[in-house]
Symmetry: C2
Amino acid sequence: MPESPHDVHMSADAFRRHGRAVIDWIADYLENIEQHPVQSPVKPNHVRAQLPAHPPERGESFEAMLRDVNEIILPGLTHWQSPSFFGFFPANTSYPSILGELLSAGLGVQGMLWATSPACTELETHVLDWVVDLLDLPREFLSTSEGGGVIQDTASSATLCAMLAARECATGGATNDRGTDGTLTVYTSRQTHSSIEKAATIAGIGRVNLRLIEVDERFAMEPEKLRQAVRADRRAGKMPAFVCATVGTTSSNAIDPVRAIGEICREEKLWLHVDAAMSGTAALCPEFRHIHDGLELADSYCFNPHKWMFTNFDCDCFFVRDRAALVRALSILPEYLRNTATESGHVIDYRDWQIPLGRRFRALKLWFVIRHYGAEGLRELVREHLALAREFADWVRESKSYDLITDPPLNLVCLRHVEGDRRTRAILEAINDSGRAFLTHTKLNDRYVIRVSIGGTRTRRPHVEALRGQLSDLA
Amino acid sequence: MPESPHDVHMSADAFRRHGRAVIDWIADYLENIEQHPVQSPVKPNHVRAQLPAHPPERGESFEAMLRDVNEIILPGLTHWQSPSFFGFFPANTSYPSILGELLSAGLGVQGMLWATSPACTELETHVLDWVVDLLDLPREFLSTSEGGGVIQDTASSATLCAMLAARECATGGATNDRGTDGTLTVYTSRQTHSSIEKAATIAGIGRVNLRLIEVDERFAMEPEKLRQAVRADRRAGKMPAFVCATVGTTSSNAIDPVRAIGEICREEKLWLHVDAAMSGTAALCPEFRHIHDGLELADSYCFNPHKWMFTNFDCDCFFVRDRAALVRALSILPEYLRNTATESGHVIDYRDWQIPLGRRFRALKLWFVIRHYGAEGLRELVREHLALAREFADWVRESKSYDLITDPPLNLVCLRHVEGDRRTRAILEAINDSGRAFLTHTKLNDRYVIRVSIGGTRTRRPHVEALRGQLSDLA
């Protein structure tokens, strides 16, 4: 027998040593993250130009890799975990979550079927039931009812799954068999996330069959306009199927009136999906649960612990009221996946709840986060962000240089310089170029607006105050 | 100011301590993995029954969590990393890959746009170019050509993206706008993966418009049957759009004749996608590159380093010849994602290459794997698996009790007991119940067949020999 090639593997001892180095590296990185410019200053191709054109023929040392992470990768990063990152929505992480992801990578199990690793499925089902408790969601979303929850990668994927289930329900299962035919219509507000349009194109429904309903002065969907659109479509021979209401739009955090929309959906027999990707987390606190008023009328719901609930990407919690409808839309059972547990009908096979087949053990990190912080700890952190956003909005409101665009419902504050688009954009760019904070923009009523999204794991009062200082200086 | 709620976070020191514990836990787990039964013996609800019904109000210690991982989670796992796991296809991981995933979780950056973390995009583009080198794929898949590569979660998602691009190309972009109308048809073999059917339903093309082409005695697609089906569809007023060829089917590892299929696709102007999810890795070795013969005729291609290339799930490498076609199918640019780099046209924004918007830094783990092992190390490991599979197949061929179903092209061996389905199934169940190895089955020519998939990171000759011993004893 020749010597085994298995000595090309990293040994367990080397893994222990390098693992400690990476753990320390992460702790050092996060403790000292404010030393880096928040936005990477590199120009296109700067990172690639430093990398060898061809893969190595022989293995390299782990030390060499970690050195390249420091020297080549780090300067090319925009630091999402910086407490002065106020762009987009947060994608926050936390130490317990990192440990959960690490454990998941180490276990390397697949949760596509209950049978492929029962604990992977059961912990996920269980923790999603906990989330129903934590956010006081409708009991219809519990796995002990006809519904249940599942972890998706993103709200985009959750919304696509919801739309597919709606499509199948509306056509009695005909579209999976025969394809779509251009008659289905779907509805959301003008302010909704781009993922709804993307889902409508992917699902073969088409952009022309997506109705963007007008919004009120607070950028929330006008339910009567929804009703009119649905009825006009029915008169025109269309088949309305799906409505997406948003709790916390990306541009301004507008909260669609879920109850009024839900009542229309019930009357018109439409699937109602509620996308609360960022803002759902606020419902940890009883005083903010009004954002979900009427949610018991929804057929599906999602929010992302990977945005504002300290769980690293990817972790979207997606709930349905009728899991059979979802499974009918997404289930395919080839012979090589058949097994006794599936055939018993007593288990959940999450591959039928999502687009991909394979899935990793993402419940671990969410379990670790909820257990580490407890409901109480999570609420405290979220309340601090909400208070900081209110204070910051008050400052903008009183400022002579900036206009507050809308009273912020939660933790996103939208403002612009009184001199208009050009000046506002110049200020945003100056702040981003300074490396001291990072902001992104949107347009509201066709005007350029700075978004200040306050929800980072490490974002505290001094960081928001420093941003105020920069905004003042630049005004 | 009240005391900060930030002391509810895990401190950096505690993270260093717990991080070391988890690193050691993983090393201990993987070093001692053979002490666990490969297949979890638990019954439905066994795991859930041990978990508290409600989430904790107050935070808990990390020690308590790790104890529960040991006592509750571990017995509920089927150990995919066991060297005696021969089920499905491998989903192997390795120490360098685990460290890459850990680093990605610690950095917590988003790669949806180049601008949101340039290094995240550039390293991915670069490493995917390396993969073109490693597997000697067509130069058209290089990012320096009109094409390029991207990491998807799974081959299911890659195939869906390919089908959407094909749909848009065939209809001149009309389906994203107007939806599908039941005329598009798509083609694959009877032995193809279930994800193709799932993609056809998701994309609104419909099951009735999916043609399952007959296979030859080695379970590979018959190109002439494909040509006939395409022509019959055209005569019937259908619009053929997409063909998926499989390099290494799930049931028997059959390899479709890519060149012959590709020539038909060129003549008929059809998008050819090649799914080599498991088997593509064999092309690390020049002597196995014949599996990709004709790949230069393909429009897209995918394989999964998370199956057989020592990179933990999720990591599918997806390549296209014409990235503009893919982006046309999947791009949506709302105001809040606009930025100077995107508008310059000089950067890749990977959100336009996939279904979801957000994406984590998965290139790190693939980079670590390629650098740790080097091309040489990867080839050695793959060659050992291939040699073990050949030896095992020889043993089956010579056995009086078992029939070899087909000469294994690579590392999957299919066999059945000479006494037929019932006996074969009983043997498989006895082995799985023993906990000493794990096997899954399929049906080929309507007969129940045991699949022995040899590709685990830690699978070596003694593990295959032990399986032979069990099979002998049970025969």
